[in-house]
Structure formats: structure tokens, C-alpha cells
Symmetry: C2
Subunit: 512 residues, 2 copies
């Protein structure tokens, strides 16, 4: 992308901010930069534009930092140069806990990933209704902070256009609607864009919520000028959902919604990896050391052709780890010739262990893993190695070393594992990828497709990947690498900025 | 409806036939007529048209009957006069078992009612693939029997149009496609209609099946001239599904699918009750006796205004019995003034106890029921009475006696309880009805709506129903009764016949 011809003013809102703070022994604040593409992409903006990031305090250090600056925005330096303003929003712990651990997770996360079997879950109780109140409360606090920032920006540069606002993800569904409702009488309306990182399911899934909540979410999002999704399927489901709950007039072909006199554009911006930064990670000394350890898990094999299957995931039910282990067990059961020839290494981050469903799932993951080794391990061959911790660098090392990367989520907004792996893998590794991952849209032609519900098919897919001829592997690996390199996360952000500029200027938009 | 001006020849296919046979001690066959609207509706056709019914043997008596006639069709007398031919199809037990107890239930039933939490279920295994083979096998046997009947009909009356074929429900999804594929070279193509009694979910649900199965189901149904559903939502989901899996060209406004040079019309025919017959049941001596017993469960109440809440269901997770008990417990917890004033009677048919999921669910139902009585029962008040058996007449008696009928399925093709109850209730009873039941489309304006996931809202809905003023109850009860009376199951069948005739004659169809 070319450098933009003017400096934007930009407000970003997300639950988690780009840095978290802790108070060191000497009393000074130590900032820890978060990882992930969003931080990098938005960090990259800081050099070019005037960015204020509004997010919620995530721990005591954040709260202390917030109090020390009196709750207003303060300057932070971005990785790669430049700086941005950060504003930390606080909420009483009990309210935040209900918002985050009851409403956003598991309820919205489970619902949007279709993890609920409707005969049993979800069950909405008076407590859930209270949690919805907490969800609204936190959303209102973020919205109020944004409104204050908008007012200050207008006072500072009254002749300029207002900053535009980018709101992120399912934690903050109600913010766009609240920006409109809670703005002072007569205030200029900002341009608001929302981006959803996780799947948007069909209207039938949303009916598990009280109807008034579903309508509130839909109405809020239709207060945006642009709503962005990872894939066309999510965008289509959104269009159907706002039609179902609000009777909004939708045009599928152009991704346009008309409701209450306003127009919302619905677009697709598939998120990606911060390529340079990620390649740099892969070259770090720690990763190189970890690669040796992981590489040692690859069995020698009879003709020196032993292979290592790798998976890297959070232990989230949507990631489908248990079915994956069952598929691997089936592969080993049906193909004794693979014993001693193949091993699997899993770098699993024990996710959200403050939520009961995740504690249960982790126990199931452990049990399924034990079953594999119990059935098949021999004195000199360990079929399955599981590393249960949040070791980001071990994941990167595993990416470098895989012969087969196994990615089988039942639902996934994008799935960055399937992009990060091919980017840094050095063995022309093959990829088995679920057709339910958002990334399947981009990588489908180069992977062995997996049906995440079908362990028989997943076993067959693993076998196909293990047996793929060298030239086919090399070609596909190269194509995947190119696809990821050419679609950096900065392109994801640039496409959104370009659409915002185009829409403001009345020109055709870039994305569909 | 007026009498049709010509006698149709008609082939009906369903898994379960209108009668089952047992061999009596003397060696003779004793026929037992099945209940249910489909049997009545089609039985009524027997007087007017020439009907052959092809269905599967359901037990040893059916097999013996089939063998005794050499596997061909034989004459049976219909209730209400006339007769039809019946042809019983057999399959080896193991094959039938896989088809019925693995593929149709729980897999298709659970999938179509959204009972699976995708993080855990379904899991497709090699065994499930074998069960799909069995499903195909049984479908092929039904299709072959239909083809033979078509050939015989053509030989008997070569100048007449071929009989048209009506195929019923999710057990026989593949029959329409097989009729086309397996027909002898050069055979005339019959007119085929399919009717689905249960919900058709969105494309995302079907993706839990191997893609080739989902495509096979879709292609088979598009071999029909007409595909009928209970509600517009099902029809819309079907249109989206065939577009998703086959890329078929669909027109939502007119319910038209174009695929491989053929046109399929998609229509809505909400099924209903056999009114006269059902009203007759309600007057039987047995029902009257049972009413006394059920009426005795109604507490006297302080001012003689005690009320009885009734539910009548199979113990199927889709029926949502456990959440219903939790909602009732919440009502009693929040409204101590109702203690001794209200009781609930549940007539529950323990359903499908040869399937593990149903055994588990029944245990959960029992536990939830016990909890209610354990918490609230007193020496002279029993809050919850549960009758766990398949006593049809006790259900009818309960319909007559309810003050509030509680119907809260998480998904239901139609839900006949919500139509049968108001038809025969004699106390101007109010109805609490889930907005996820197909019948909500017709009865919505007269019921207290329930969100089946929200036990807080369900408790509130029960309270609203209990407190509804007498005149409002009476008026709503009367409107519901009229709605059901004026939409007899014969109208359901007549609408389908009229559409078939209209389509054959090139005239506009009746249903949408």
C-alpha cells in the first residue's frame, strides 16, 4: 500500500489494550506489550496517524496506572516507532467479572462458535440477566470514554473532521449504539466501524438469547457506517440476522443494510499475521533452542523418513482437540506401519481456566491424550507429546519443525495458526485444515481439507498429508507462504482505512 | 374443501406404516392401527383415491405378515371406510438398526433440532459411515418397492397417468433421488413430493455431516417436483442449504429451485390434528375416568381458585423438560403465594429408550422433577405430579383439564400438543408456547410466548398465564380452538393434493 496522503485521527476501542502494566518493586510502572496481529497492525498506524486506544483495565497494574494519570489518556510508545495515546477504563470487579466471565465467555463465545447443544445449554437465568446488565455497563463505560475523547478532539481541532472510531469484537457489541444514544445533544456524529474477530452464526443461534438482547446487538451494529467480518459467510449470516430480528432491509449482493433511515455497509476483511515481526520471532535464540527440543520428538523412522505432526492451540472446545486425538488414534490403529514413523507434538495453552466449561474441557483433552499413549506407546516410541502451557515461543518453534500441521477447529473466525505455521515452517510441511476455519477461504486450495466432526475423515486426511509427495508438499508450502506474505495484517488494516476514506469521500469501497 | 373431481392414484412412503401386525395365539394376524395425524389424513384419502402405502416392517409381526403375502402389497381397511393397499418392506435387523438407531436417531434428529454442541458432538466415525451405508440400503429398498408398484400400476392402467409419490420425513431423504436413479431405462418419471415433519436447520448445521452426505440429501430432494415443510423458516433454510451445498439457483420469493435442468417447488404445509377423531377421543369413557384422577391434582386453593399447569411430551431433549422444571421451581421460589395454589401435572412418554442419549435425558428429567418436590412439597400440597408412561389417553385427559398448558420445546417441526390441547380443553385454559415451535406461527397471537432457553422468562410467562383475566383466557382459548378446527389435518393433505394437481395442470399453486 502507498502511504496515505493525510494523517487520520483515529479512536480504537477493544476490551484488551495493547499493553498491560505492572507495578515494579520500586513503585514504577512496567509496561508489557501484548502480542497478536491487532496490536501490531494498530501499532503500525501510530507512526502515520494520530491514534487513541480505549480499552479496559485487565489487572491491578492497569488500575493503578489508570489512577495515577487520573483516568485520562496518556502517551505510549509503539513498537516500531511513533506513539499513541492510551486510555484505560475501569469497572468494579464484580461487574467486570459478570461481563467477561459470564456474558462474553462462555455465553457469547459458545453461542457464536455453535458450542451449545440446545437441549441442555445455554440456560438463561436471573443471574444471566444480571450479567447482561453488567455487559451493558462495561460497554457504556467504554462508550463514555470514547465520547469524551471525541469531545476533546473536537475542542483541540474544531475545524478538522472528527476522529473515526473502530470498535473491536464481541465484548463491545453495544458500544456503537451507545455512542449514538449517549452523545451530548447536538454533538457531531462520528464515523463508526466495527470489526468482529470471531464467527457470526445464523439467526437460529441468536434465538437462544432473549430476543431483546439480540435486537439490541443488531441495532447497535447498525449504528455503524461499516461492519467488518472475517469471511463472506459471517457477513451473510449477519445480514440474515438483522433482517430476522429487526426486519432491516438487506441487499446481499452489495452488502448493504438499510434501517431506520441509515445505511450500514457490511464488508469482509480477513485478518492476518504481522509478517516481518513473526519471521523475526522465528529467528530468535529461544526459538532456535526450542526447535532442537521439538525436533528430537520426530522419530528417526526406518528409512530416516520419520515425520512430526504438530498442533498449536488454546484448549478451547472450538479448537476440537479431543476429536483430533481420536482421529490420530484411529490413524495409528489402522496403520501399524506408521508406529515408530510418526509422532505428534501439541503445544496447548490452557485457556480460560476461570470458566468451568474450560476446566472440564482441559480434563477431557488430558484424558484423550493419555489414551493415545496408553494404547500405542512403546519403549522407544512416544506417539504423542503434549506441552500444556502458554509458551508462545514453543509454538513458533513447532511451526518451524512440522512435517504436518494439524488444524481442525469446529468453528473459527480466522485461525492464525494456519497462517503463522506456513509462514515460518522450514520443512515444506503439509497442512491439514478444517473447512470450518475462516482461513480455509484463502488456504483451501493448498491444504488437505478436514471435516472437524468426522474423525475417520481426519485420520484419512492426516494419512494423505503424511504421504504427500515431496514436490507437491514443496509447491503447496510455497504457495501458502506467499499467500500469507502478500496479505500481511497491515493490509487488513489498510483495507479498512481505505474503505473508510472511500466512504467518507463518496467513492467506491475496496473490500466486499 | 370440495370433493376432488377425479380419483388420484397415489403411492405413500414412510418408515412407519399405518398399522402394525402381531401374530395372535391362534396364528392369525391382528392389526393395530397407529395413531397420529398422518395416518388419519392418509386414511381419509382411502375413501376417495387409490392409495398404496409402502413402509418398513417394524417388528416380528410385520415381518411375518410380509412373508405370508410374499412381500407384495395387500389390502387393508381404513378407519372411516374405504381401503388401501399396504406393502411392507423388510431389511436385515442389523442394517435396520444402524439406519434407525444410529443414523436417523440420534444423528439426523439431533442435528435437525440443533441438539448437538459442536465442540463435543456429533462425532462421525467409521461406524457412522457404515450406518450411512445402512441408511442408503433401507432407502433403496423403499425406493425399489415404489418402483415395482409404479410398474404394476402402469401395466394395470397403461393409459392413465402414473400414480404420484409422496415420501415422508427424514428417514427417507434419499428415496426421491433413488426413484430417479434406480428406475428402469426408459421408465416414465413419476411426480414425486416429499414432506418433512421435523425442522430443517441452516446450512451450518448440515456441515457437521460429511459433505458428500449433505450433498446427497440435497440432490435427492431436488429430484422432487415439490418439497413441503412445516414453516416458512424451514423452507428458507432448505433453499439456503441447497444453494450452499450444490450451488443450486434459488428464488426465495417464489420458493423455486433450479438445479441440473429441473425445477423444484418449495412449499409450506403446516400439519394439524384430525379434529373429529380427536374430539371423539376426548369424550371416551377412559378419558373421562382419567380426567377425574387428574382433576384431583388441582389444589383447592385458598379461594377455590387453585390451578393446574399441564405438560404432555415425549422425554426428548428437544422438548426441553428439564429447563421447564427449573422454570417452575423458580416460579415457586419467587412466588411463595402460589404454594398450595398451583400444581403441575406432566404426562411424559419415555421416548426412544434404546438410544443412550435418551436414557440419559430421562434420568435428568427424573432428577429435575424430584428436586422440585424435594424443595417445595408440603404434607398437603404436591407441586409436581409426573406420569412416566406412554398413556395417550392420560394426555388427552390432561388436555381437557389444564388451566395452563406449558409447551417449551427448543426446536419442534410443528408441536401437535399445542394444537390438540386447545381443541379439547374445557377450562378456557391459557397456553405458554415456545417461539421455537412450528405452531407458534399459527398460535402466536393467542399464547403467552416463551423463550425456551430462558428459565427466568419462562417463570414469568407461567405467572402471566396463571394471572390472565378470565375474559382474556376465554377469548384466546376460543380463538385457538377455532384456528385448530378450521385447519384440520385433512386440509393439510388437501392443500398438498391441490398443489400437485395444479402443478400437473400448469395452474398456480395454493400454498406458499
Amino acid at each position: 500500500m502507498t502511504e496515505p496522503d493525510r494523517k487520520h485521527r483515529l479512536l480504537v476501542a477493544s476490551n484488551r489494550g495493547p499493553v498491560t502494566f505492572r507495578v515494579a518493586d520500586g513503585g514504577e510502572f512496567v509496561a508489557r506489550r501484548g502480542g497478536g496481529g491487532l496490536v501490531t497492525a494498530l501499532g503500525g498506524l501510530a507512526r502515520l496517524h494520530q491514534v487513541t486506544w480505549v480499552s479496559h483495565a485487565l489487572g491491578e497494574g492497569d488500575v493503578a496506572m489508570r489512577d495515577s494519570v487520573g483516568g485520562v489518556a496518556f502517551e505510549e510508545h509503539a513498537r516500531g516507532g511513533g506513539s499513541y495515546d492510551l486510555r484505560i477504563v475501569g469497572t468494579p470487579d464484580l461487574t467486570y467479572d459478570r461481563y467477561y466471565h459470564e456474558l462474553a465467555n462462555p455465553l457469547l463465545w459458545f453461542l457464536q462458535h455453535r458450542l451449545y447443544g440446545f437441549g441442555w445449554d445455554p440456560t438463561i437465568t436471573r443471574r444471566t440477566h444480571a450479567a447482561w446488565g453488567a455487559y451493558r455497563d462495561v460497554n457504556a463505560r467504554i462508550a463514555d470514554a470514547l465520547i469524551e475523547e471525541l469531545e476533546q478532539a473536537q475542542q483541540a481541532q474544531p475545524d478538522d473532521e472528527l476522529p473515526f472510531v473502530m470498535v473491536h469484537d464481541y465484548h463491545l457489541f453495544l458500544v456503537p449504539g451507545m455512542l449514538r444514544e449517549r452523545a451530548p445533544e447536538g454533538a457531531e456524529r462520528p464515523f463508526v466501524q466495527f470489526f468482529l474477530h470471531i464467527p457470526w452464526p445464523d439467526p437460529g443461534a441468536w434465538r437462544a438469547l432473549p430476543r431483546s438482547w439480540a435486537k439490541e446487538v443488531c441495532e447497535s451494529l447498525l449504528a455503524c457506517e461499516i461492519v467488518g467480518f472475517q469471511t463472506p459467510r459471517d457477513a451473510e449470516n449477519f445480514l440474515r440476522t438483522v433482517h430476522h430480528f429487526l426486519g432491516a432491509s438487506v441487499e446481499f449482493r452489495t452488502g448493504t443494510v438499510r434501517y431506520m433511515g441509515a445505511i450500514t455497509r457490511v464488508r469482509t476483511y480477513p485478518i492476518s499475521v504481522a509478517v516481518d515481526e513473526f519471521e523475526e520471532h522465528a529467528q530468535s535464540a529461544t526459538v532456535r533452542r526450542l526447535r532442537d527440543r521439538i525436533s528430537a520428538m520426530r522419530p528417526a523412522g526406518r528409512d530416516g523418513g520419520g515425520q512430526l505432526i504438530v498442533r498449536v492451540d488454546r484448549t478451547d472446545p472450538s479448537k476440537n482437540i479431543v476429536r483430533g486425538f481420536k482421529a490420530y488414534a484411529l490413524l495409528l490403529e489402522e496403520h501399524p506401519e506408521l508406529h515408530g514413523e510418526v509422532s505428534m507434538f501439541c503445544q496447548l495453552d490452557p485457556s480460560r481456566q476461570d470458566i468451568a466449561e474450560y476446566v472440564d474441557y482441559l480434563a477431557q483433552v488430558k484424558q484423550a491424550a493419555n489414551e493415545v499413549n496408553h494404547r500405542f506407546a512403546t519403549t522407544d516410541w512416544m506417539p504423542l507429546h503434549v506441552n500444556l502451557d502458554s509458551n508462545f515461543q514453543a509454538g513458533v518453534a513447532a511451526y518451524c519443525e512440522y512435517d504436518v500441521l494439524f488444524v481442525n477447529p469446529v468453528a473459527d473466525g480466522m485461525n492464525l495458526v494456519s497462517k503463522e505455521g506456513p509462514l515460518v515452517n522450514e520443512r515444506d510441511g503439509a497442512v491439514v485444515l478444517s473447512d470450518q476455519a475462516g482461513s480455509f477461504n484463502e488456504l483451501g486450495p493448498y491444504v488437505v481439507p478436514a471435516n472437524p466432526f468426522d474423525i475417520a475423515q481426519q485420520a484419512d486426511a492426516m494419512l494423505d498429508a503424511l504421504r504427500m509427495p515431496a514436490h507437491a508438499r514443496a509447491e503447496r508450502a510455497e504457495r501458502m507462504r506467499r499467500q500469507v506474505r502478500e496479505h500481511d495484517v497491515r493490509d487488513w488494516m489498510d483495507a479498512q482505512l481505505a474503505d473508510i476514506s472511500a466512504l467518507q469521500a463518496g467513492e467506491p469501497m475496496v473490500a466486499r
